[in-house]
């Protein structure tokens, strides 16, 4: 399968990327080349191989339920583009 320009526009929108059709076409070719590579993998007899979400055989890296020192509020807000009364200020997304 290969991606169309329409699908590229949709993916770009989902990722909130503003890209010209020219750029999108450029990336489309690059991504389609990658997808072709997966076609090769698809052709392999992999029925007996368990699907994995991770490539290393490591499980259960947990932490115990202990409270640790948080960041100070001043430090937490230091790099925020806008902050007031200890709160982050962001542009309104949805009118409720």
């Amino acid at each position: 399968m290969a991606l169309t320009l329409k699908q590229m526009r949709h993916v770009a929108k989902l990722a909130r990327l503003e890209l010209s059709d020219e750029k999108l076409t450029h990336y489309m070719h690059a991504i389609n080349a990658l997808l072709e590579h997966f076609e090769t993998l698809q052709a392999m007899p992999l029925d007996t191989v368990e699907p994995t979400s991770h490539s290393i055989p490591v499980f259960n890296a947990f932490r115990e339920d202990c409270v640790e020192e948080p960041l100070s509020r001043d430090l937490a807000l230091m790099n925020a583009p806008e902050a007031r009364d200890g709160l982050f200020i962001v542009p309104r997304i949805v009118e409720e």
Binding site: F59, N60, V67, E68, F88, I89, V90, R92, I93
Partner: protein, 482 residues
Amino acid sequence: MSTHYRPSIGMEVHAQLLTESKMFCGCATRFGDRPNTNVCPICLGLPGTLPVPNRKAVEHVIRTALALNCRVAPIAVFYRKNYFYPDLPKGYQISQYGEIHPIGTHGYLEIELNGERKRIGIRRVHLEEDTGKLFHYLPGESEVDYNRAGVPLMEIVTEFPPDIHSAEEAREYLVQLRAILTYLKVCDGKMEEGSLRCEPNISVAPEDSNTLGVKTELKNLNSFRSVVRGIEFEVQRQIQVLESGGQVVQETRGWSEEGAYSFPMRTKEFEQDYRYFPEPDIVPIQITEEWLESLRATLPELPLAKADRYRKEYGLSDYDAKVLTAEYDTAEYFERCVALGVEPKTACNWITVELQARLNETNLPISQSRLTPAHLADLVALIKNGTITGRIAKELFDEVFQSGEMPSQIVQARGMVQISDEEALRVAARQVIAENPDTVEKYKGGKTSVIGFLVGQVMRATQGRANPQRVQELLREELERV
């Protein structure tokens, strides 16, 4: 002839898990702290940080899955759910993806309605992180508090097609689920504070149809009452839309408790596409048989099983058994009273009537009652051995509830002991008879029920320190002689 419609209701419940620290970092989960004081580089999504799952949160979900009769996945995996909304600073929520490796699947929960048991299928139980809180005070901007971002959250979704077909069943499902979660001590179950949230999806279809109607999802249901009213309203609304020849629109609707109506919430610009993919920063969770068995061993007796036992072992009514087992702490209180020798029905009455009323007035949980099972057992023993009357006991109950003093000590200190001197009571009875000739005449004329009034007079004369049954006997004897 008008069509009969059958509602179908799916339930999506989010439960905040009872842990000290967040899901993937060590920030406190405390409710009500000053904004952005329980945050760190991990829950703020700063670059270069790595999330590490909280073992206790994972165990809470596994135990819930077991209690809900689920299949527990041998391998569970976290996914990233990508979306752009500032309630999570990372740009994605760490969650589990649909039917792929959530911790629990294919379970069920039993409800009891009008004496009948019914199984409600559970599609999945999974673990994710809660979001931050947004405030919209000024136009054009939102304020964000990330204290809640990353708090462990469990999602429990019922089976599709739904087993629930009425608001009553939905309520009962939620009551049972809440009871189970609080018995397991995995969630405090406070709907008003948002630690237990319910989003039902509702559709209606003609009764003889074998397909389901278009569904709507309801939000802002902050109490059991809202859940019932919201669902009932939405069912009626949909029926009216269909009856008038219209079509139900698939949408998310908000519920206004004050106005008692649902309203459409703004729909998203385009269909949600969360682009789920396995969270590369967290290795899979392997749930071995040993781990599972060690957790299974920690499961308490669950509410319905307990209610069954109360009926069989203690001969309590369906109603009493249900009230006592609705909360773990109430059931525990009751069992401690019984262990201290209080007759079960007596314990039940004191707990569900007197104690519950005072707890409601003072807004205290039963676990913090100063009147403990030991106090109640002491009080009941005082009535049983004739030291005090039931009326005195109720007065004492109030006092003990406030002070936490032992009833027997108060009685002793104050000389509130019941009058057991027969002669003293007889004198009081004669006195009352002499003072109420009209009533005596009625009694003699065959209206024997007026004796209640005379008993009351004697009780008053003795400041309630007489045994009312004995007073009645004495009055009868004395009235014979008049």
